[in-house]
């Protein structure tokens, strides 16, 4: 992955994780579009490419982020083969989040984690799938 591509991903992550106001409601009770800026409460987002063993990106792969203390979040890689996860509760150590990937006809070969230099920055975890 080139630095430029990583930068593109980071820009996308920032928009997805920190840019959008949230939906306008609390528990079946209106409160006039109240918005919460949750960024101060977030742990770092996760993102990365899903690739095959030739390095080609794989769209539509299932990506599961499993939290050691219980709970998981499941998303899919987009048409570029990239997934984005906005982050977990601040008290969850990012080291306790495992990223795995899956797609029909493939099995997971490896994951590669690239820790950011700043702990608040998104964490890149690339996942490689191998044809079965």
């Amino acid at each position: 992955m080139t630095a430029w591509m990583r930068l593109t991903c980071l820009a996308g992550i920032a928009a997805a994780a920190f840019g959008g106001a949230n939906a306008a409601l609390a528990g079946g009770q209106m409160n006039f579009g109240d918005e919460t800026n949750t960024s101060a409460n977030d742990g770092p987002p996760f993102f990365g490419f899903i690739r095959d063993s030739n390095g080609s990106s794989i769209p539509g792969a299932k990506v599961t982020a499993t939290v050691k203390s219980g709970g998981a979040l499941v998303t899919r890689s987009n048409s570029m083969g990239v997934y984005k996860i906005p982050g977990f509760a601040k008290e969850i150590d990012p080291k306790d989040v495992t990223i795995s990937c899956d797609k029909d006809g493939y099995k997971q070969a490896s994951t590669l984690r690239r820790p950011p230099s700043d702990p608040k920055d998104p964490i890149e975890v690339e996942c490689t799938l191998q044809k079965e």
Partner: protein, 541 residues
Amino acid sequence: MARVLMAALGLLLAGLQAPAHAQVLTGTVGSAEDSAMEGVLVSAQKGGSPVTVTVVSDAQGRFRFPDGRLTAGDYRLRIRATGYDLAGPQSVTLGAAPADVAIKLAKTADLAAQLTNTEWFMSMPGSADDKRPLIECMSCHTLERIVRSTYDADGFVPVLERMLTYANNTIQARAQKRVAAPTPNEAGARRLAAYLATVNRSAGAWRYPLRTLPRPQGRATRVVITEYDLPRKTIAPHDVRTDPQGHVWYSNFTENFLGEFDPATGVNTDYAIPVLKPGFPTGTLDLEADADGNLWLALMFQAGLARFDMAARTFQMFPVPGAASDDAMQQSMVMPRADNADGKVWTNDVARRAIMRLDLKTGTYERIDPFKFLPKGGLHAPYGMMADARNDLYFLDFGDENVGRVDAVTAASTIFPTPAPRSRPRRGMLDEQGRLWFAEFAADKLGMFDTKSEAFKEWDVPTPHTHPYDVFCDRNGELWSAGMASDRVLRFEPQTGRSVEYLLPRPANIRRVFVDNATSPVTFWAGNNHGAALIKLEPLD
């Protein structure tokens, strides 16, 4: 316990059971502008009867009430064709001979009175973000009420703040106050007030054109709609379902009764639910069947769940311990479908944005936070609930954009964000193939989550600002949906994307939708939550 109301006795006279005396009513619909108008809804209601039957004119402007639906007598006629009023005739007398009436329409002098919430959304200037908070308002009243007001921005703020003090189970015929009112989000209220003052009549007449949806065409005209007025205007039918005898059971959103309605006789029976918290809003929301076919109700601000024994016709109450001292305690959902798997019934704790699970043996509840590993401060709201055969819970995160699963054994949760952002999935159903069908209230989409592959599919509803509330997948794999905005019932084929929208005869605020698969074609049922009526829709194909 049963309070049988025979107020609908006139129904027998309306001749629902008397095909031997059935009359034929046909006719044409035209106006000065158009001699043969397609897609005009023509409704006939016999004097004193709570039953209104509606058909739709075809491309030649002709309509025909199906044989056997009407009997001899005097009928009031009504029409729905946006932009027009009924010029005449206002009534028709059916006797021995077939009646063929020429219905004349005249341009309306008050188009605004005919707009649906969807059409107000279409007409009002402003951004999607400006309009988004208004989808909450429809829960208690129409948008017409807002746009006809004359408040300026400052005048609107206290009105909006007062709105927060009402319980969600409020209709115009029966307003209910919350005991624990939330603290208003003042910045949000000011922003919304400023926007509303630009779309109401604070500066005189509306300065934007009123946009309307086209009349039904083609397939959308091939339908018969029957409305059954309930005996009190304060009845707010929320969830509906039919039983094998063809009786319609409904939750009453504002009164503490479970309703049973027999369409064949017109008899409505109210089963009084014991009041657990005097002084708190009454009424129930979710109505679901357990594994034995008994009905469960989520008690809203009465706090807890009720099981209705279908044989004994009695309630067993499951109050939430400690709810007496918790003014905000509210249960909107219940999921007892797989209670035979582990003796547990799912519900929610609205105020805490959490899930609760009732242990039937002990009567105790446990609270589960399915979002505990996600960032705090999100606007999550577990809402529509489904369960599989193991009693794993699937829920819709109505505040945000997720489908969630809670494992029946470990109570661990898995969150699946919908592809559409800010979708606010609301209600739905889990079919026998493990497909979860649901409505994306804020994203104007129908969704499907395959619980086996854990993959989503989404389809845009054909009319923006429909804000679908719920979806039902029928035995043919067709989807049925409706909501609080469009006065239309959507029928949708997910395989082809083919759809038809059936316009309803009256303003209809629809929540839960239900399809009776035992008829051919299938029959759609819903409650008119603000109109104190049950709606039966029979497609002719």
